[in-house]
Amino acid sequence: MQTSPEALIAILGMALVTIAIKAGGLLLADRLPRQGFAAAWLRHIPGAVLAALVAPALVTGGPAEMLAAIATGGVFILTRNLFAAMAAGVLTVFLTRLMLGS
């Protein structure tokens, strides 16, 4: 058997809430004022979300992740190249873990 009514309902339900939330953010933001506090708040979301994504991964990681974060940041500041920065981070994590045996 390929699927069941229960699985179909679960998947459709998951899809529906996901698109509702994704669309909801844009639709709610459209109702916010274009100036003042609300506009300032929307402008500050990208940096805050990225900081919130990155910070826990760095503090819960070990020395390999810390070293890799420094490599990523250093390469990005020097080259302004996103791919080079990412590659430096991945390579540093890979090599450090290899050396530390973790």
Partner: protein, 242 residues
């Protein structure tokens, strides 16, 4: 040359630029796509269910959580918890898609709302970074989204087919690709000292939340706290000056 053809060729350029910008992260998306496909098979999903879930739900972290709850016997499938978990894990998208408002004119919001389906953490981050440099467009966002969708779908199916022959992506350091990309994008958004406090608030709240709650609450909590702190500072400063 007519105006509409000039418009469409620049749309295609933007679409391709968005896809190109997402290639580095798409490699990691693909590695985790393989793992998800493999785990989905272990959890008891059929190939049809894998294709439906990846095609329709299209949200990596929610799909990983779903595998924990999934049961191979339909009668014991926890439909309510599965939907609720998807809702909770994806709540952060409220913040992400809200920031895309400048790309969509109010008159065209219906189609814009539907296109949010293709928003992922990765193409969102690339697009807001491009917007911060004065670029970014709906086509750019969609280019990255389509690339992510195709690499997620194809690798899910491949992983399902290959089964347990798949390596753990963290063995190759690919788990760090997301952190590295987001970190570099964050550094690229630096506009001066006014960013320091909001980012610090976001980071600290995220760290505190992550240590006490599972899932993706830290993104929502940190993102909200940091952006509110930034807005409060900015409005205060403005009031002091006038």
């Amino acid at each position: 040359m007519s105006q509409s053809s000039a418009l469409s060729s620049s749309t295609i350029d933007q679409f391709l630029a968005g896809a190109r910008a997402c290639i580095p992260v798409a490699i990691s998306v693909a590695a985790y796509g393989m793992v998800w496909g493999m785990l989905a098979r272990t959890a008891g999903l059929s190939l049809l269910e894998v294709v439906m879930m990846s095609g329709l739900v299209f949200a990596g972290s929610a799909q990983f959580v779903a595998l924990d709850l999934w049961t191979a016997t339909p009668s014991s499938l926890p439909v309510g918890p599965l939907v609720l978990a998807a809702l909770i894990v994806n709540l952060r998208y409220l913040l992400l898609t809200a920031t895309l408002r400048p790309l969509y004119p109010s008159s065209n919001l219906g189609r814009g709302a539907l296109s949010m389906y293709l928003v992922t953490d990765e193409n969102w981050a690339m697009t807001v970074a491009a917007m911060a440099r004065g670029g970014g467009s709906v086509a750019f966002l969609m280019g990255g989204g389509v690339l992510a969708w195709v690499s997620w779908m194809t690798t899910n199916v491949t992983g399902f087919g290959l089964g347990s022959a798949i390596d753990d992506p963290s063995r190759w350091g690919l788990d760090f690709a997301f952190t590295a990309t987001f970190l570099a994008l964050l550094l690229g958004m630096w506009r001066g000292k006014a960013d320091l406090l909001p980012w610090l608030v976001a980071a600290l709240v995220a760290i505190a939340t992550e240590s006490s709650f599972d899932g993706s609450w830290h993104i929502l909590a940190g993102g909200l706290a940091g952006s509110l702190a930034g807005a409060i500072l900015e409005v205060r400063k403005h009031a002091d000056q006038s």
